[in-house]
């Protein structure tokens, strides 16, 4: 792997690795540190990279492990969720509507954050990163049926909570 290849990998994967780490650690600065550490490790082991079959999965796995280590190492407060609603509407929404939308997204974030770790990770990889079941299975090193089970449970919880929020505003 030369510098050009390395830069290409950084450019292609930095954002998805960052989002994945952020879902686990909950803080942007820590997620960036994780991504940085992973790329440094990759550069240090560049001579061994020729033998790696699925580099993307390997990097995702490294990010997952490092992020989990970070959450275990200390108690951290989950960063306040910065919400900006991007709508395709041509009109400018009123401040009330903006606040409502922000609150709604914040509630969704809270629902997902409260999922069990494995479900949260599977959800992130599928719903945000749009990975196939096989890719998720490869990244997490678990069978495909386990990926499906975790995703099903995560979505079931999300649906129940969304209906509750809509009905009672909880």
């Amino acid at each position: 792997m030369n510098t050009k290849d390395f830069n290409h990998i950084i450019h292609r994967l930095k954002d998805s690795l960052f989002r994945f780490s952020l879902r686990i650690v909950g803080r942007s600065d820590e997620a960036e540190d994780v991504v940085q550490e992973v790329f440094i490790k990759l550069w240090q082991k560049k001579s061994e990279m020729g033998h790696i079959q699925n580099l993307d999965a390997m990097l995702m796995r490294m990010v997952k492990n490092l992020s989990i280590d970070k959450t275990r190492s200390k108690h951290r407060k989950t960063e306040e969720y910065d919400l900006i609603v991007e709508q395709k509407n041509n009109y400018s929404p009123s401040p009330e509507r903006q606040t409502e939308a922000k609150d709604a997204l914040e509630k969704v974030n809270m629902i997902i954050s409260s999922l069990p770790q494995k479900q949260k990770i599977v959800f992130q990889l599928r719903d945000i990163e749009q990975k196939t079941y096989e890719e998720i299975s490869d990244i997490l090193n678990i069978p495909t049926n386990q990926v499906k089970v975790n995703l099903h449970r995560a979505r079931k919880t999300i649906r129940q909570q969304l209906l509750k929020v809509h009905a009672y505003g909880l």
Binding site: F18, S28, Q36, I40, R155, H166
Partner: protein
Amino acid sequence: MDYKKIQNLLEKYWEGNTSIQEENILQEYFESNMIEKEHLPYQSFFLFRKKERNKKISSDFSIVPKHETVKTIHIRSKKWLAAACIIFISGFFIWTQHNNTEKEKFANVIEINNKEDAYAITLETLRFVSTKLNKGTSKAAEKIDKVKTINRFIKQPKDKNH
């Protein structure tokens, strides 16, 4: 959009049985302004998915660990500062001590301005030195006598010619 189709896809989605393409159809539907009332509880969720997908790492992201470097330099400079302080304080302490010793050395020195006094003191000093020298000479003479006495007991080697 076809309500029935969307409804079916949604059910499939919640069961975890949709393909990525089918999920994209749902995503488009929820991003549009033509959402059925029954689907409104899920709108924020699909908008959340969109928002999350657009999240990016900061533009100044670099694999050079900038925080670490700053931290290291900071720590290093602190160490240097501490070392410099210790050296400075130690130096000052040693210098002060040395100064005091020098002062103490010359604390008993009397300045003599009078010629007669100077002569008397010099004479007294010379007498003192002379006494010490005499004592030394007599001790040396005693030692020489002892050596001579010992030599008497040591047999002289016989002359080979005799």
